[in-house]
């Protein structure tokens, strides 16, 4: 790692970047335009985000707020927990712990900085982690391993049973830094009394762990407040998902990322709700006018991504979709499983959905356990991909619900789980009538395959399959 990189705490730098970005629009349009020439590396990402109007501005603001919280956590006497995107942060907020989500930080750096997270990715390898480990964790964890991040108190993950490389990154980093570690383990079955009981007991053990780390008891009133806000967020997301079914979809392409961000950063917190409300307002307006959310106004194709996005600098992935009139119908990360989600009603999957029950402390804990066990990825790729309620069923169900014309897989070479069966999944989805494209890129590291090459291959697929 270069000495220059070690000069500043990376998360402090990132916070400053987002904080400055959040103020860009404070002046007049003329002042904003004048400012852009002084930030050549950030000009495109700013235009992309702020081009979405108020939601883009709010998105930057919540990213900034999230980073501010973690950078100043110690000054405010709060504990910090390194966690993962598919772990609902609701419990942390309820216990006054600041969550530090590795993948979110990696994504922020990847789309914001020209250099991405390359030095941190490589630093992980320098200190012993394998180069084949998932880049989504390595990107940010490298900085913490190098000691250039905020102080960490504990590591908490919920991917054992779902994603080895994710769980392993947490296990490795906690051992390397000698910090407490807790895992929520996921059995291969999602539903049924055995699994429910397992999730419940595991979550109770988590609460004991967190109480031990913070020295504070879980406050049921605070948790209720948090879950009330979460339920509100779920309702907004459900309406956004419903709107996305309309042809043309009134939902702009970037909204999927913003939905995930609101849940991964601020589940159950007003900051997340505010972003979602802003998105919903615009989507409703578009729907009322029967116009597409695409900036060109013409919807040529509807694509469902069965795994994750591509986070290359400047959000080129979303720009590509938008520029080509491809309506983005979301991915595994942007669809949640609350009981009011349209896909739950549409596919009669009530038993796989979570319900928020605030009757007493036990039902609160049960609700949290259910929410967590049904987070994106945790729900769909824990068991055999072709088992009930798992990846194939979800992919086909969502593709059908959103009238997708094609299905695309994009991930990282570090994903042992999905690379273990994505060829089989693609065979099945093709058989079901969906042209299916497997991207061989790394969503978090363009050194594996440049964005330009990734885009060219994707467009070639569309041409070969006569989709454009």
């Amino acid at each position: 790692m270069r000495n220059e990189t070690r000069e500043y705490k990376f998360d402090w730098m990132l916070w400053n970047t987002f904080a400055a970005a959040s103020r860009l629009k404070n002046g007049t349009q003329k002042e904003y335009q004048a400012m852009l020439k002084y930030i050549p590396y950030f000009k495109r990402i700013m235009e992309t985000l702020l081009g979405t109007g108020e939601p883009g501005q709010k998105f930057i603001e919540i990213c900034s707020k999230y980073l501010e919280n973690l950078v100043f956590a110690k000054e405010k006497g709060k504990k910090t927990a390194i966690t993962t995107f598919c772990f609902s942060p609701a419990i942390f907020y309820a216990m006054d712990i600041i969550p530090i989500c590795l993948e979110v930080l990696t994504v922020m750096m990847t789309f914001m900085y020209k250099r991405g997270t390359a030095e941190f990715l490589d630093y992980c390898n320098e200190v012993g982690s394998t180069e084949t480990s998932c880049s989504s964790q390595r990107g940010a964890i490298g900085a913490y391993l190098a000691g250039i991040g905020a102080d960490i108190d504990m590591f908490v993950t919920d991917t054992p049973g779902v994603c080895d490389t994710n769980a392993n990154a947490f296990s490795f980093a906690s051992a390397y830094l000698n910090k407490p570690f807790f895992q929520l383990d996921m059995p291969p079955d999602l539903t049924g009394e055995r699994s429910n009981e397992y999730h419940r007991e595991d979550f109770k053990a988590l609460i004991c762990f967190l109480e031990g780390q913070t020295g504070k008891r879980l406050d049921p009133e605070r948790l209720k407040e948090n879950l009330r806000e979460l339920a509100k967020q779920d309702e907004i997301i459900a309406e956004l998902e419903d709107l996305a079914r309309i042809v043309p979809s009134p939902v702009p392409v970037l909204y999927n990322l913003m939905v995930s961000a609101s849940k991964f950063l601020f589940a159950g917190m007003p900051e997340g709700t505010s972003l979602l409300e802003s998105m919903l307002r615009i989507a409703r307006e578009n729907a009322a006018k029967n116009i597409s959310g695409l900036s060109g106004g013409v919807e040529k194709l509807r694509a469902f991504f069965c795994y994750i996005d591509h986070y290359a600098q400047n959000m080129q992935f979303w720009q590509m979709l938008d520029g080509n009139g491809i309506c983005y119908q979301g991915n595994i990360l942007s669809h949640f499983w609350s009981n009011n989600a349209p896909h739950v009603a549409y596919y009669h999957k009530e038993e796989v959905a979570y319900t928020i029950d605030m009757t007493d402390i036990d039902s609160l804990i049960d609700s949290l356990a259910m929410i967590n066990s049904r987070m994106p990825m945790i729900k769909s790729i824990r068991g055999p991909y072709d088992a009930p309620n798992m990846w194939l069923e979800d992919t086909l169900g969502l593709a059908k619900l959103y009238s997708a014309d094609l299905i695309v897989y994009n991930g990282t070479p570090g994903c042992r789980n999905t690379w273990g069966m994505v060829k089989l999944l693609a065979r099945d989805t093709e058989k079901a009538g969906y042209p299916t494209y497997i991207m061989y890129a790394d969503a978090f590291d363009v050194r594996v395959q440049s964005w330009e090459a990734t885009e060219e291959r994707f467009m070639e697929f569309l041409k070969v399959r006569r989709l454009v």
Partner: protein, 382 residues
């Protein structure tokens, strides 16, 4: 006698399996050391550890698995696709790691493409990743589910009495292997690391009663052996290795592998099953409790302690930490072991490899020789 062990460990359908099948008895394969052999033994079925040994390419494996996957399950699928596991009447897949658990779907898909590739009994045994009262309960229930499935499919009855007998037999085997392990760590070990691995591997591929008899004889003979002296003492840790040839390459003429921490090696027989309690519960407790595999997340310190104790006991000169490419669990933990053991003055070498035919022999040999050279120089300075 060692010939018997070598034969059993280097041929998939070895003479013991052939004889077993000739007698009209069933064989069930499993992919991970977290599966309790005793359940099958109690049902009169031969438990057989599925391996990828002998695969000479991975064309079939690559058809189903993606490119960024460990070559061990690919080789297993390759052998299955080539009909080399046709002697299996059943197979148990566990979530040992992500690559291995996806063997479930890949094998099933291959089975739907080509008739006869998949055994008629195919079972996913869900093993938790942590050790707690509720995870033991889960595994106990899972073991009951396995027992019920075996009983139904093979039309057998597995009683508590049968299970207890099997537990006793396997515990005796583990005791013998402890004696075997003690011999291995003598100043002049009576057998090489290659031979040791052959002995251990044979236990995963042949009937336990016969194995115990052979093992008793082997130990009795080994106890009288003058032993091998003057070699650099190595320990081999990391990803699964079921190839005695790999150990042979590492040992060469200058070294001897006197200890290991491999799941096809000593991890497979550590710890006894309690013979007093409920057999299914005790089996689950023992199998889940041996946390030597990095799949049991967050337990690194315990594993480091075990490793350090083994290093001390076996008077190890150097530790070779190998991992199969894409095995992030062992690969990363090897990085931690290297840091912590080197800090204690124990020379370590990390080696990434592909599973399968020893096509990288030259490279590996050169690196191991350089490592031995380093150890010798260190000794000379000391």
């Amino acid at each position: 006698m060692i010939k018997e062990f070598f034969e059993a460990s280097t041929a998939l359908n070895n003479k013991y399996v052939t004889q077993w099948k000739k007698n009209g008895k069933k064989v069930v394969g499993y992919t991970c050391s977290y599966v309790p052999d005793e359940v099958f033994h109690a049902a009169g079925i031969l438990p057989f550890r599925i391996r990828g040994f002998g695969a000479t390419d991975t064309t079939i494996g690559d058809t189903y698995f993606g490119p960024f996957i460990c070559s061990l399950p690919k080789c297993m699928l390759q052998l299955a696709g080539e009909g080399k596991f046709n002697f299996l009447d059943g197979a148990i897949i566990t979530p040992g790691c992500d690559s291995m658990r996806r063997l479930d779907e890949c094998w099933r898909k291959a089975g739907s493409d080509v008739e006869g590739v998949i055994p008629s009994f195919f079972f996913h045994y869900g093993v938790p990743h942590k050790y707690a009262d509720y995870t033991i309960k889960w595994l106990t229930d899972e073991t009951w589910r396995l027992i019920a499935a075996v009983e139904k499919h093979f039309k057998v009855k597995i009683t508590d009495v049968d299970l207890k007998k099997s537990i006793k037999l396997y515990n005796y085997s583990r005791k013998l292997l402890d004696r075997f392990e003690a011999l291995r760590t003598l100043d002049a070990p009576p057998f090489s690391g290659e031979e040791a691995l052959a002995v251990i591997l044979a236990g995963t591929t042949m009937p336990r009663e016969e194995y115990n008899v052979l093992l008793e004889q082997f130990i009795a003979k080994a106890e009288k052996s003058p032993g091998i002296k003057g070699r650099v003492r190595l320990m081999l840790v990391g990803s699964a290795n079921d190839d005695v040839g790999l150990v042979r390459v590492m040992e060469g003429e200058k070294a001897i592998v006197v200890a290991d921490n491999l799941c096809f090696g000593s991890r497979f027989y550590s710890d006894q099953v309690d013979e007093e309690g409920d057999p299914v519960f005790e089996l689950s407790r023992r199998y889940l409790g041996h946390n030597d595999c990095p799949r049991m997340y967050g337990d690194y310190r315990r594993r480091l302690k075990i490793l350090a104790q083994k290093v001390e006991k076996a008077k190890i000169d150097g530790v070779i930490m190998q991992n199969i490419r894409f095995c992030d669990l062992h690969g990363s933990e090897n990085g931690l072991f290297e840091r912590d053991l080197e800090a204690k003055g124990i020379p370590c070498m990390r080696l990434e490899r592909e599973y399968g035919p020893l096509v990288e022999t030259g490279r590996m040999k050169m690196r191991v020789d350089a490592f031995i050279e380093r150890i010798k120089q260190r000794r000379a300075i000391a």
